[in-house]
Amino acid sequence: MADANWKLRSSGWKRGNSDETYREVTPAAIILGVVWGAFMAASFTYAGMIMGFTSGGSAIAAIVGWGVLSGILKKGTVVENNIVQTIASAVNISVSGVIFTIPALYIMGLHQEINTTYFFLATAAGAILGITFIIPLRKQMIEIDRLRFPTGTAVATVLKTPGSGIEKARLLFLGMAVSTAVYLVQQFPVLGLPEIIPEYVDLRAILHLPEWVSLAMALSLMVFGMGLITGRNGLIVLAGGILSYYIITPIVKALGWLPSDVTGGAISGFVYANMTRPLGIGMLLGGSIAGLILSMPVIIVALRSIANASKLGTGRNEELPIKYLYAGITLAFLLLLVTTYQLGNLGIGRSLLTALVGVAWIFVASLLVAMSTGMTDWSPVSGLSLVSVMILLYLTGKQVPLTILLGATVGVAISGAADMMQDLKTGHLVGGIPSRQQKVELLTAWIGPIIALTVVGLIWKAYGIGNEAVPAPQAMALKSMVEAILGGNVPVDKFIAGGILGFALSMSGIPGLGVLVGLSMYLPMLYILPYGLGCIVHEIAKRRKGNEFITEKVLPVAAGLMVGEAAMTLLFAVLTVLGVLHP
């Protein structure tokens, strides 16, 4: 181990040449990023529809990037590898948006009503919007608001490891090894082996607490690692979770506000599903709107800065010109307009309104997801999808096929916005040029939807969708969501009440407080607990050992924990594709 690290580090010093241009956007980086991104996109599309999970893949791409660029080609650089992971992520990220929506059309037997071309147009529009909206958001959230983007920070730690010394590399690999081993052992039952380490532990049963108490903790080192990097903001999420599960729930129970048939262990689930989670979604929305209002001066500064940078003919200009923002919005708007007009039979006026509101909503949703992800590493995509579907059903006159298709646009856009913000945070931390990262994102993001849609189509032809072979759990969830909305079973009053609370919280002077508390009510306690534990460890280490200890010791370990589990996720996705694993 030590010898390998020494060689890796040593080659770094010998590799550069003072007369050579610093390698960043290179053919090797682009090709590798596209190939690896395509591989991940195909694998996660397939696995997502069968096993129900996906992953961003940036961390894995960073490891692969080092392996190929430095290990095989012998000439990689930190910022070149940053381009690899940026492209791979851009290609892969549309998967989650696609598999949450498009398969639902197949399940409902509605896919034949829509020409395949529109599948691509809708998802491509989403990819374009996701990228273009983060042009000003990047400056606001990463440079001015200084959001942490834990995964982005972890990936930066991976990218910088070869130049950071032996100790950091050792800690990174240690984290990877532990996380990999634990995850593999946890998956023994899937492989037909006896269970040794469970995926979660029921603390309620162990502590003999009342049945209504929800106190199960996921034994996920990746989630713990997320908390280790997040720190302080995560403590608010933990506190909010405590409020939700251990203050609101028992008080609601004591006041007799529950239906008489909800008793025992069902109480916690009922309160979560019907009370606190919808309230949390509302808080997220209210908090993000307040954040948008409060951030308007900052966004103006960001836009002005970008515009000024564009005017400078010489010197250092590293911002993507603002015209890209305008062009992207216009193009996406037109794509949505064409799709809506051609498929919806709504007339030109209604189609214009739908496209316009759609673009505006995507901006708000992208801002919310980016803010939430930046502060905590959690992305409330499914919650926003619920609101999106509700809005779209209203705009389209309850046309389900068109709603789901436009929902794909939203899903791809907001997933893309969050993940690409992570990548741009990584770029900031390793010194990547933002305009170059964003250009390669624009260049390659359209590939992901094609791959994902193709895989979905192939799966449909081979196995069907929504059956035992291909359960497509996320799409089934969307189908249920649509049916609930059409049936009038939507807790709009909770959204409104939560929105008001979230708005007020974010006016408190603590940036994003409404979003943080909303997120805590939105997330299941299963994940809040290991996440909160990581945040606590971070804060304790910071107070006792200082910031240097966090940077030098905690970050590499946390990054390793996250990378290890992410890599295993991809491995299991591949095994699913190969038919080794079954639901």
Binding site: I248, V252, L279
Partner: protein, 172 residues
């Protein structure tokens, strides 16, 4: 902690708890929610006032605020000057420490929001650009591209000087 700020936090928390409970009911208790929001509003007002007074007091005593920010930036600039002609390895090691301290600057600059988001945004925008330049310098030196490293070392230095000027211009 400033008493106003502390009391504001307490009221904010109480209002949030009560508001969440009343909002959680099916259907929500709108009256109770309104009262809770009023309590939260008072808490927010007190909290903001307390935070502003805290910032001003820190500035007057020199124990924090703008003077602390100036010190951090001046220190970083001095250390950058010392490594302008240093070897790549030494520059990388020193930049690692400087970047950690710059992260501290960013954290301590957060209270400046109270003095106006436009001003805060301008300062942090320039600062972050400088930080990114120094990050690039670190990466370039680590990869053995010394010319690129020195180029962005100068960019980062210039941006931090500009940031220092902007901080000094504040009237806190």
């Amino acid at each position: 902690m400033e008493m106003k700020k502390l009391f504001g936090n307490v009221l904010l928390t109480v209002g949030l708890v009560a508001g969440s409970i009343t909002a959680a009911r099916i259907p929500p208790m709108w009256g109770g929610l309104a009262v809770s929001l009023a309590v939260m509003g008072v808490g927010i007002f007190l909290r903001r006032q307390g935070a502003k007074e805290e910032l001003h007091r820190a500035a007057q005593t020199g124990t924090g605020g703008v003077r602390e920010l100036e010190r951090l930036l001046s220190d970083a600039l001095g250390r950058l000057e010392a490594i302008m002609d240093a070897s790549g390895e030494r520059a990388t090691a020193e930049l690692t420490k400087i970047l950690e301290e710059l992260d501290e600057f960013a954290e301590k600059a957060q209270p400046l929001r109270i003095e106006g988001l436009m001003t805060y945004g301008t300062i942090m925008s320039v600062f972050s650009r400088g930080e990114r330049a120094l990050n690039r310098a670190w990466s370039a030196f680590a990869d053995g591209y010394e010319e690129e490293g020195r180029k962005y070392l100068r960019y980062g230095y210039d941006d931090l000087k500009e940031t220092l000027s902007a901080v000094k211009a504040l009237k806190v």
